[in-house]
């Protein structure tokens, strides 16, 4: 994860992780996961809504891709942490913004396993950087 952060920082990209969990729960979460990124809370889900991140259907939450992901995590001996009652149906997503709020890249997850790989994000950023430096 740190190498991804370095690659993003080198490209001028800050990363903020957003959760709808309460800040107090996020402290425990961060103590366990040690994400090398800023974590912020959106307990009212107003920002989730602004990015049109909806709730997933039962079929999407328990899709074959999700089950495959959970099996992989189990094999890696990564146990699920308990942070109290949670909404497993909320969709996640990944968005790259510029300073004017333009959404340069958007990925709204279709199931829990659906996340863009870091390599793809870096390619998108490199294309944007090349395009902006080619403009007069």
């Amino acid at each position: 994860m740190s190498s991804v952060k370095e690659a993003l920082t080198a490209r001028g990209v800050s990363v903020v992780v957003v959760s709808f969990g309460e800040p107090a729960k996020l402290i425990q979460y961060q103590e366990y996961h040690q994400w090398p990124f800023t974590i912020l809370a959106d307990p009212q889900r107003a920002v989730y809504e602004m990015f049109s991140l909806k709730r997933l259907s039962w079929l999407r939450v328990f899709s074959p891709a999700t089950l495959k992901l959970y099996l992989k995590l189990l094999r890696e001996n990564k146990k699920r942490q308990d942070y109290g009652k949670e909404d497993i149906y909320q969709a996640g997503g990944d968005f790259l913004l510029d300073r004017d709020g333009h959404v340069l890249f958007a990925h709204r997850s279709q199931d829990p396993a659906d996340r863009p790989p870091a390599k793809k994000l870096l390619e998108v950023i490199d294309r944007l950087t090349a395009r902006s430096s080619a403009q007069p």
């Binding site: 990209v13 107003a46 340069l104």
Partner: protein, 38 residues
């Protein structure tokens, strides 16, 4: 191209204090929205 009103995005830090997202930028900002905590 989609555009979001950055100054209207109200997020909280882990102390529960409001954070202004436009202060979090280098050139770009990648927002990663989590599902539930696990």
């Amino acid at each position: 191209m989609e555009q979001v009103p950055l100054r209207r995005l109200r997020l909280l830090n882990l102390k529960g204090e409001p954070v202004e997202l436009h202060n979090c930028f280098q050139v770009y900002l990648l927002l990663i929205f989590l599902r539930h905590l696990a």
